[in-house]
Amino acid sequence: MKNPSKARVGHPAPRASTLGGLQAWLPRLVLAPSVAISLFFVYGFMLWTFILSLTSSRMLPSYDFVGFGQYARLMQNDRWWVASTNLMIFGSLFVVICLVIGVLLAMLLDQKIRQEGALRTIYLYPMALSFIVTGVVWKWLLNPSLGIQAMVRSWGFESFRFDWLVDSDMVIYTLVIAAVWQASGFVMALFLAGLRGIDDSIIKAAQLDGASLPRVYWRVVMPCLRPVVFSAVMILAHIAIKSFDLVVALTGGGPGYASDLPATFMYAHAFNRAQIGLGSASAMLMLGGVLAILIPYLYSELRSRRHG
């Protein structure tokens, strides 16, 4: 037993029920501000935005309720459909191309490569940049009269065309290029971490059985990486839905509103076009999209935590 006379200065021995009680409550007290912040700024604000989306608010929030009228307006809004369709195209291409590039680079890097560290650093650095910087740089590269198109033409391919940035039908693919450039290195890092976690002996055994290296990867390694694929798809889809800065910097949503995404649609209506009600409705639909992706993800995360 310890000698209680060594108790802290100015306090009785920690027997005292008040102090003991305080100690028991301290962890909760420490967490309380964060929980309060979370409840107010995350959950409260979501509810608030939902309420706004049920009103006829335009320039300023008003609480004149119109039911789901704003959602109905949204469904008839051509620009919203363009933005949603764009998100589908952009999101699916972005996720798939990032996955393919990421997996490929990770597997190649896993072949005892010299200078692996340097290559990894090069593949991943765009992730440290702001999407605004990425947008500004690619806007310059994709500029038809001075960028890549002009360069290839100066090599003698006079009829070469790469003017997607100013082509309403193709502009969405410029967003894919820039976003893939920024995020594919990250997917590489995820898969490399996953590969390094796989036991060598499985692969050796498969090789001794005479399987070729590509076959080993396809039949043995890929199934082990299923959880990584799952995580990567979640994170990438999430990045895609939130994409805002890149559109603003690279295309400004143009030409016209050909490269609008829900995030830019919401911002334009809520802050520039005095359509707070409509903007709120579009924000709620974005939240719905994120939840559809998120709930299975969180569920599996928490379940594996319990069993892991």
């Binding site: 920690p14 100690q23 301290l26 962890p27 909760r28 420490v30 967490l31 964060s34 929980v35 979370s38 700024f41 995350v42 409260g44 604000f45 608030w48 935005t49 706004l52 929030p61 490929l104 680079l105 896993d110 490569i113 090069i122 593949y123 991943l124 650095y125 940049l129 702001s130 999407f131 605004i132 910087v133 500004v136 740089v137 690619w138 310059w140 590269l141 960028g147 002009a150 360069m151 890092a189 590969l195 976690g197 692969i203 959880p227 990567a232 999430h238 800065d245 603003v248 829900p262 919401m266 911002y267 903007g279 579009s282 924000a283 939240l287 994120v290 969180l298 995360e301 594996s304 892991g308």
Partner: protein, 292 residues
Amino acid sequence: MANVIRRQTLAARVSRLAVYSVLILAALFYLLPLAVMLMTSVKPLSEISAGTLLTLPQNPTLAPWTKAWGEACTGMRCDGVGGYFWNSFAIVIPAVLISTTIGALNGYALTKWRFKGSELVFALMLFGCFIPFQVVLLPMAQTLGWLGISSSRAGLILVHVVFGIAFTTLFFRNFYVGIPNELVSAAKLDGAGFFRIFWRILLPVSTPIIVVSVIWQFTQIWNDFLFGVAFSAHNTQPVTVALNNLVNTSTGVREYNVDMAAAMIAALPTLVVYVLAGKYFVRGLTAGSVKG
């Protein structure tokens, strides 16, 4: 996955060559935009219109950089991005320190002082990592107005702290879960209290996760544009907003070299952090997404 069995045949050599070629081509794809950005930022305008993206600068000049820093027009005002660069620091540093401190205490309380419902509290906070911020923009604008800090640096700091806590808590929680409970239990038996245990036992071993959290938050907040554009005014804008204004200010001739120099200025701090502490940056990225 090292030492896979390889036979040094001709086929093996050819495939090695193919592997290296693909890797080097990929490296070029990632590096070229940065190289072009750098080269363009030191070319005079005449060389930009005469040459192509990959033409090396004939008479390199730092004039675009000085113009981007101190004279270029960003919307209404023409004083470059320099002032906004310091604005970003004035927002980022307090926000990073506050959110990391809160995250550390939260992670500690959630793992070493479990109580009924602590898992639920964590799940509740974790959700904050994932919401699309469009859902909070309008209420946030009103709340900042009520608090009397709309369009101020203090307001932006608050916003970044509020939405950064979820991430920092996640980092510290996942790190502290791996610290043996026996140490803490022994200290509790000795009568050490909540903060004393944190200070004496947990904090000394927390350096790696503190670095991860600081780097992650620094990068996130420095690179933020959405909150910056929604909640700042002329004199409180972060550098990302100033950069976007500079590039979209259409007065007279487009000075692409100045645009690129401004983009470099906005990108440098996070690039420096990445080069110096890339390992921790990657750890932050993969935290919570790969179970390790």
